[in-house]
């Protein structure tokens, strides 16, 4: 039941009558406009991706050529190595995947896709970005302080993370933890906006099942985040106090329990991977429907699989702790839940693949990325089964097999799906086209080397190569030449992949200012954002749209056009 106030009947711009063009600061740095805040998150996330990628470059060079000075960094000490892998992981999850996927795409697209003029709480939105920016500053500070950045892995298990006599990075550890805590608060604030806006501010006529999948996935991801991060916020406070105030939450010498942290961390940590996965699959849904000119196969089924995955994700966490010292009987429970969670995810992927059936598929750059997501994520999904099967995890836990598995899920999520979204919505965001040829060059130059990096790591992990080690020559079996060769293959693939990212950077920046001009709806898509100008003005539309149907009415029989925008009455 929709209640719309009289204000709705006014033009969106009426709130801004007599409103002058804002100055630089108000427009770019102090804005409350959801689109500008989206850009702030996206560009910050992209910059952090460069930092995270640089860290990967340094530590992979160390692994391929141990002891040699890394160009652009120097010789990597064991402590620096640990700080690099710790911050690479933390940055990619908390400062790249989350801001770009949830806060970037969410902020930009939710109001536009539901036909609203902005988010429900624009000033809280601005505050959430500012808190996020603060977390970036704190994190970077943690890398620059005396004794260096925190090196206890993104999982930060105590006692190592709690006691400076063990970790030797007293300032870095505390600043890292503070940065994560502030980032959590920023996303809790942001999440309120996404959830309430999507629930309440839909266009007249837009029923729940008329909402595009991307909006659903971002909202459910925000709910998942909110429900799962609480215990870890408590845990972070507890760890902070153990670090700085001498409390003994996790100190076994004083009656505390290090494994308690692990439970608090992973209770959040597992749902977190779905928090980032859901927006990614949302983007893929939007792209594959447009470029196959087809309705999404079984829209409601997709919603159910998303909700089922979200709910089940709360019951699998201890598969990260099979050999950590939990009761071995509990491990069996978590094997059951973990292996079974493959069912809704598999169903979701089957539905996406089925959407191609009967389609008319155009292989544009966004479509290539969306299809690559499915192909590569499948690898991540199936290799997860090895780890969920407790008996096998005894061997694979804390080896490079795990690293390869999660990169085959995270990379599709944080890079491939993001690229699909970036290339798809670029014309809307900037009113210009990206160059298709260079877009495809970038695509292949990323996907092929990506596999070159991580397939060797599956083999190395299976052979017993354990994680978070700066030089494998210290271990006779792992120092075998064939293993070192595989490490080099992985590193060289990374260098190739990084080189191709310059193609994207140039394409992106040049096209933003000098690309061919784009119309409102270059992809002939149904969803509401394509009815606004490219780029949309403040307030998005002079008159907010009304919704008459679902988002995926493509190729409807009997119609002249093969698409049917949601706001067109007939």
């Amino acid at each position: 039941m929709a209640h719309h106030s009289d204000a709705d009947a006014h033009h969106a711009g009426s709130a801004h009558h007599g409103h002058e063009e804002p100055g630089f600061i108000k427009k770019y740095l102090w804005s409350t406009d959801h689109k500008m805040i989206a850009f702030q998150y996206m560009f910050t996330g992209m910059l952090m991706a460069v930092l995270g990628a640089f860290m990967a470059y340094v530590f992979r060079m160390q692994l391929a050529f141990p002891g040699n000075p890394v160009p652009g960094f120097g010789v990597v000490s064991p402590g620096e190595y640990n700080a690099l892998i710790t911050n690479h992981g933390s940055i990619m999850i908390f400062w790249v995947a989350m801001p770009v996927l949830i806060a970037g795409f969410g902020n930009y697209l939710i109001p536009l896709m539901i036909g609203a003029d902005d988010m429900v709480f624009p000033r809280i939105n601005r505050l959430s970005y500012q808190m996020f920016a603060l977390s970036v500053v704190i994190l970077i500070a943690s890398l620059l302080v005396q004794n260096g950045g925190f090196g206890g892995a993104w999982t930060a298990y105590p006692p190592l993370s709690a006691n400076k006599l063990y970790n030797l990075t007293p300032l870095g550890s505390t600043l890292w933890l503070l940065a994560v805590a502030v980032e959590f608060v920023a996303f809790l604030l942001g999440g309120i906006n996404f959830i309430v806006t999507a629930m309440n501010s839909r266009a007249p006529g837009m029923k729940a099942f008329d909402v595009p999948i991307l909006v659903w996935t971002i909202v459910i991801a925000s709910i998942l985040f909110m429900a799962s991060v609480g215990p870890l916020v408590a845990g972070a406070v507890m760890l902070l106090f153990d670090q700085t105030l001498g409390t003994s939450f996790f100190n076994p010498g004083k009656g505390g329990d290090p494994i308690l942290w692990q439970h608090l961390f992973w209770f959040f940590g597992h749902p977190e991977v779905y928090v980032v996965m859901l927006p990614a699959v949302g983007i893929v849904a939007e792209v594959i429907t447009v470029f196959s000119r087809k309705k999404l196969f079984a829209y409601k089924t997709v919603i159910y699989t998303i909700v089922a995955t979200g709910v089940l994700s709360f019951f699998v966490w201890a598969h990260h702790q099979f050999v950590a010292g939990i009761d071995p009987r509990m491990a069996n429970v978590f094997t059951v839940t973990t292996v079974l969670i493959s069912i809704p995810i598999a169903e979701m992927l089957f539905v996406y693949i089925a959407t191609l059936y009967g389609g008319s598929i155009r292989f544009t750059t966004p479509m290539l990325w969306a299809l690559a997501f499915i192909a590569e994520f499948l690898v991540g999904g199936v290799t997860g089964i090895y780890l969920g099967a407790s008996g096998a995890d005894i061997h694979f836990h804390d080896t490079y097999f795990v690293v390869a598995h999660f990169h085959y899920t995270f990379f599709p999520i944080a890079i491939i799906a993001v690229m699909a979204g970036v290339t798809f919505w670029f014309p809307k965001m900037f009113g210009r086209y990206l160059n298709e040829f260079w877009g495809k060059v970038h695509f292949w130059g990323t996907i092929i080397p990506f596999n070159g990096i991580f397939i060797p790591l599956f083999v190395l992990g299976a052979a017993g190569e354990h994680r978070r080690i700066f030089d494998y020559h210290n271990f006779p079996h792992l120092a075998q030449p064939w293993m070192q060769h595989l490490r080099m293959v992985a590193t060289i693939s990374l260098l190739v992949m990084l080189a191709f990212q310059f193609v994207f950077l140039v394409n992106y920046l040049v096209s933003m200012f000098a690309g061919k001009k784009a119309e409102k709806n270059p992809w002939r898509s149904n969803t509401l954002e394509w009815t606004a100008d490219s780029p949309p003005p403040h307030g998005n539309w002079p008159e907010l749209p009304t919704c008459y149907r679902g988002p995926y009415e493509y190729s409807v029989p009997g119609r002249a056009e093969d698409f049917w925008p949601q706001n067109e009455k007939t």
Binding site: H16, N200, S201, L232
Partner: protein
Amino acid sequence: MKTIATTRSAMGIPTGRLAVWWVLVSEIVIFGGLLACYVMNRIAHVEWAEQAAHTNTWAGAFNTLILLSSSLSAVLAHQAAEKGDGAKAARLLYTTCLGGLIFLIVKSFEWTHEIREGFTIQSGGFWSYYYTAAGLHAFHVIAGMLVMLAVASTAKKNQELHRVENVGIYWHFVDLVWIFLFPLLYIAK
């Protein structure tokens, strides 16, 4: 500069109220997580009861009464706001704040006394949880008071009266957390 988005209500609930409920969802999991850890640890460590004996049950009980009363004034503030009497609503919000202030003052006396007796946050597992849980709660009391002052100053001009109810909902939650803390920290001995 209210956006049209803010005024819509596809779910039938005003956006401000819907938002506050979602804030509470995240707060419930934060406090729920912390208190669940405390309860599990308390059960595993029978000797903590000896430490818990040193908390001041009378001060805790008095503070419970204060917070409950302040929730009452928050409800009355909401009633006044519903009737459009912004000035009265503001006065009642100030009263609620006063309750919060008394709560904090009592707590500061409690903690000062306990620290002087040698029970600091470093004194072991029970005290780690005691100060952390009550401290996190007190932090939320302070935050609530600040928001309440801001809401009151707009309400007394008869503006944004719906916010009186919303800040009241938050305050009831802060009260509810204390209703859990009180028996867990003060009565279980």
